[in-house]
Symmetry: C2
Subunit: 201 residues, 2 copies
DNA sequence: TCATTTATGTACTATCCGGTATTTTATATC
DNA sequence: GATATAAAATACCGGATAGTACATAAATGA
């Protein structure tokens, strides 16, 4: 076992559970908006004091960066699983649509998209992580589309990179609209229309 | 002439030009983001004191509402002119694309879209105005698409309302991406792809 | 000249923010 | 029990925010 999980031998034993605090922060950032959640509010919600939080995470930037890390490994990873699942074009697109429109966790939006749209308000570390995830997502979309093209499923004249960007943005748009309370049936209609460019001759 | 433009007969003459202050506010909100521009900053940029601003506009909500009004009549009106121009489907779509991607004023984004995406941070009056404009835009898109359908230019099976929403959101997406520094050629590629659903059998 | 009226800017309030200095508390070691 | 260590919370700091009380300046009318 690592030595990070065994407390120090001496001194007052810590009562703060950093994992639980991170859960609180991630959820709060996610349900409302990173720019609208203060460290004070997170401390209050987690039942800890501000210095405890700062000792664990260093700064607000450190906290939001850690919350985004957690979100990536807990939630976004599922999207990457879908993309790398090796299913066909239509099946994968359907799975993406389901994830965006039916997964109850996306009901209040996507933390990554919220951070990306307010990127200028983030600290440098969190912003850098947003850029990393953005690049990874773009690469995953491109790999998926490339394999679809290799399989002859997607004969369009569009470049794989442009298609990847387009696909990612349409998914983001749908999730954001869903979070803003738009009619789900209408969103599905629009997303299906947008993605029809991949499945039409 | 109205009596709003002649100053009061007595008392110290006003030196503040509310129109110019409104220009400053609109530009500042537009160039950066409504949530990132304080009334203090606007006063400083306009060279006036805070009480002067509050006497003229009542509150921050009043100011941002007035700035949005001005934006609607100075900028958004041009989009409505395009939509009601009575040109054919492809010509109008091309004009919309040009407006979104080539008009230099859209280079830093659209104030309306910025306010809409941060609606929860606005005061009640400004928020209500955002909703009004949203409805008017939706109606204008729908009218345009209905006339295209009547002319037989757009035989798709999609409802006019869904198409209107889709069209509006794709334009908004393109403008927002342009403001975020995305490669213009790539944006044009994506927007053209998105709108191809209107001009394809 | 002097009162009235209205706009002006200075200076202030109360509140929130991110971040921290300081004290107190709870443990292990001696 | 005494001491060292580390985590805890209280209470604070400086700065920014939206909004305002108040004194003053500049005009008109008498």
């Amino acid at each position: 076992m690592s030595d990070a999980d065994k407390g120090p031998a001496r001194g007052r034993p810590r009562t703060m559970n950093a994992e639980q605090v991170l859960d609180v922060a991630m959820t709060a950032y996610w349900q409302s908006d990173p720019a609208d959640v203060s460290v004070n509010a997170i401390c209050q919600m987690a039942g800890i004091s501000k210095p405890s939080l700062y000792r664990a995470f260093g700064s607000e930037d450190g906290l939001s960066r850690a919350a985004l890390d957690r979100y990536a490994e807990r939630v976004l990873s599922e999207m990457f699983v879908i993309l790398h699942g090796g299913q066909g074009l239509r099946q994968t697109l359907d799975a993406l649509v389901d994830f965006a429109l039916d997964d109850p966790r996306m009901e209040t939006g996507c933390l990554f998209y919220k951070m990306r749209s307010g990127k200028h308000r983030l600290g440098p570390d969190t912003r850098a992580r947003v850029d990393e995830i953005e690049a990874a997502a773009q690469a995953a979309y491109a790999t998926f589309l490339q394999s679809a093209r290799d399989a002859g499923d997607w004969p369009g004249e569009l470049s794989v990179e442009a298609g990847a960007k387009y696909l990612g943005e349409q998914i983001a748009l749908a999730i954001t609209q869903r979070a803003s309370g738009e009619d789900p049936a209408r969103i599905r209609e629009m997303l299906t229309l947008a993605l029809s460019v991949f499945t039409r001759p």
